[in-house]
């Protein structure tokens, strides 16, 4: 794969003619005819997204999706991509807010942690993916952990770490993540060089000054070293981005898993606490703000979390005391349900894609019924529209 993410992909323009942009003169080659309800149109560059674009959807070419977000999108959304044969993300206020913060942040200062929270189904993961795509387009190195909960439950193989006897390795999860990391950040792996020698075993070692890609290959071929490789990758990136040659975005979905409880058990049936897992231990170090030159954007997720009630969605509830104190001071960003405009936009998009087949769905009454039943909750709306 030779495509490089750092060059800007031209966005694919849709044939749709219904579009109304208030006050916008249009981007480079946007076929805008200001008639009809504001459905959506594709926008030239994410960097120009602003409040005027709120409620609009924009598409990402499928190749780009595979490269930038191989494992980040929610499961139902991935099925939607397959069905519609396009990836359409709505531009919403929380994402726009994050873009302004990221654009204005001072990269000499310690990293700022942003925590996206909200009720179930409001679009936190989608917002995170939007931010990931934005940063990838801008040429940042993206460390995307799609679901931290997967690292603290249902791990088939747990091995004692060779580096530190107290800790436990998870080779399968680590190698899976490394593979996706390699896909996302191909170009950086050639540029970043190791700053010290790493010895993996009796015969394997990586010298100082070798590209980081070699370290990643080592982890993928010798799966039992994969967790330590992840640790090394994180450490190198953290050390080198302070120098300013590249920016790093650490995007973690379900960050509350790092400070909760696990359902894993050691061989003597005693429970494993999160800091005893190598992956979690190293990721926690990345969440500290003792480095600079990037940003940390995380989401809190109750779905998939362990030992948390289903109504919990506020930061302190899900993070617990330990997590809150570790991330403090952070900027909490709330993702609410759809506004009127966003709901209209989504509804018209489903109509356009002929996803809503029911004859009543096209009527005003049908729209109101959908609005009422879903409560303007994006996840609910998507589930309701599926059988229609």
């Amino acid at each position: 794969v030779t495509t490089s993410i750092s060059s800007l992909f031209p966005a694919r323009f849709l044939e749709v003619q219904h579009c109304r942009l208030r006050g916008e003169q249009g981007g480079a080659a946007n076929p805008i005819v200001p008639t009809g309800p504001y459905v959506f149109c594709s926008l030239p560059s994410q960097a120009k997204h602003s409040e005027q674009h709120e409620g609009h959807l924009y598409t990402i070419p499928l190749e780009e999706v595979k490269a930038v977000l191989p494992h980040g999108l929610p499961h139902r959304f991935q099925r939607q991509i397959k069905t519609f044969n396009e990836t359409c993300i709505m531009v919403r206020k929380p994402a726009l807010e994050l873009f302004t913060y990221l654009k204005n942040s001072n990269f000499a200062h310690p990293v700022v942690r942003y925590v996206i929270y909200g009720e179930r189904g409001t679009g936190k993961t989608m917002t995170l993916c939007h931010v990931v795509h934005f940063c990838a387009r801008q040429g940042w190195l993206v460390l995307h952990i799609p679901d931290a909960h997967l690292w603290v439950k249902n791990c088939k193989e747990l091995m004692q770490s060779s580096y530190n006897k107290e800790r436990l390795d998870q080779p399968l999860q680590a190698s899976f993540w490394l593979r996706n990391f390699r896909t996302t950040n191909e170009s950086f792996l050639k540029e970043i060089k190791t700053q010290q020698k790493y010895v993996w075993g009796k015969r394997d070692s990586t010298e100082q000054g070798r590209p980081l890609g070699e370290v990643v290959e080592q982890g993928l071929t010798r799966v039992k070293n994969a967790s330590d490789v992840v640790g090394v990758v994180l450490k190198e990136i953290k050390q080198q981005c302070c120098l300013g040659s590249f920016r790093v975005l650490v995007a973690v979905d379900g960050v509350n898993a790092l400070w909760g409880r696990t359902t894993l058990k050691k061989e003597d049936k005693s429970p494993v606490s999160p800091e005893e897992l190598t992956l979690v231990y190293n990721l926690r170090k990345m969440m500290m703000n003792n480095w600079s030159g990037g940003a940390v954007v995380t989401t809190l997720s109750q779905t998939g979390s362990l030992f948390k009630p289903s109504s919990a969605h506020l930061p302190h509830e899900l993070l617990g005391k330990e997590g809150f104190d570790a991330l403090d001071p952070f900027v909490p960003i709330l993702v609410p349900n759809y506004t009127e405009r966003e709901f209209e936009s989504c509804y018209h998009y489903y109509l356009h894609c002929r996803w809503l087949q029911h004859e009543k769905a096209r009527t005003e009454d049908g729209k109101e019924e959908l609005r009422f039943l879903s409560g303007c909750n994006p996840g609910q709306l998507e589930r309701l529209s599926a059988p229609l």
Partner: protein
């Protein structure tokens, strides 16, 4: 007077004394109350009066135009010299006499109250709000008196004494009384005993709370009743971050004390304390967000 003696036999205590006062007051009121008769009342009595009084014995004959209340007296019981009707409770043993005024009519009760007013004092005008009452009298005793339609004034629930200590007192005292304090005492059979026990308990707790045990020095963060920001991890994180920021801007010799005294840090401190102590609400979280943005100097303008 037999009735008065009977009341006295109940023993010393508030109720019999009050009943005696009532008796004397009602007699006094009875003799001093003017003859209230509205034209309708007179008419009514006028119609019923002659017909009825013709059949009654002479002592019971009524004059029309005479208020009924003046005949039977404000209590419904007959004053001994007002009418020759036999007293209502005459001949009944003490256990059958009604020890309350529940059977009275509202005007009769009004007359009672008017008579009692002479024995009452005014509510102090300076205590015109709940807060002032709490401030000057932080310890409140609540007791309940029970009235029933039977002949007995006893009720086992009447022995319960509730002690309420408001939080204004607590501010000068050690931690246990920082919040307001309500306790019910009901274990003793008499109200007076429960009251004495309550006051005694309060005194003992007060004195005990000033003592410090050796193990109290081992108190950890989890044991704290409320969140204290000083020396917490939140303070450490904030100071570390700010020092790092200052270092990147080449601003040296900024001391921790200066940082702690600065407005952004004070703001941040208040928002964290509110979040931890009061729990999370939308307003708390947005306040926290604003304070963090100011602390870390995050610009929101595009």
């Amino acid at each position: 007077m037999a009735a008065a003696v009977g009341w006295g036999a109940f023993g010393s205590g508030r109720w019999p004394a009050l009943a005696r006062c009532c008796w004397r007051a009602e007699v006094a009121a009875y003799f001093s109350a003017p003859a209230a008769s509205s034209p309708e009342a007179q008419q009514r009595e006028g119609e019923g009066g002659p017909a009825r009084s013709a059949t009654l014995p002479p002592g019971m004959r009524l004059n029309p135009g005479r208020a009924w209340l003046r005949v039977v007296g404000p209590s419904g019981r007959v004053g001994s010299s007002a009418c020759r009707l036999p007293p209502f409770g005459l001949g009944l043993c003490l256990s059958q006499q009604i020890p309350n005024f529940l059977h009275l009519t509202p005007p009769a009760i009004k007359k009672h109250c008017a008579a009692l007013r002479d024995f009452c004092t005014e509510w102090p005008s300076a205590l015109d709000s709940d807060e002032k009452c709490e401030q000057h009298f932080p310890v409140e005793i609540e007791t309940v008196d029970y009235v029933s339609a039977g002949t007995s004034i006893r009720n086992p629930k009447a022995r319960i004494v509730t002690l309420r200590v408001s939080s204004t007192l607590g501010k000068q005292l050690p931690l246990f009384l920082k919040t307001s304090f309500v306790y019910e005492f009901f274990r003793c059979p008499l109200r007076r005993q429960n009251y004495d026990y309550g006051i005694h308990l309060l005194t003992v707790l007060y004195h005990e709370s000033w003592k410090t045990e050796t193990w109290e020095s081992e108190k950890t963060e989890e044991d704290m009743e409320e969140y204290i920001w000083e020396n917490s991890s939140s303070q450490r994180n904030a100071l570390d971050t700010l020092l790092q920021i200052k270092a990147t801007e080449n601003v040296s010799n900024v001391t921790k004390e200066e940082l702690l005294a600065s407005e952004v840090v004070r703001n941040y401190r208040n928002s964290v304390i509110a979040l931890k102590n009061e729990g999370e609400t939308e307003s708390n979280i947005s306040q926290y967000k604003e304070s963090v943005k100011k602390l870390l100097n995050i610009q929101a303008l595009p």
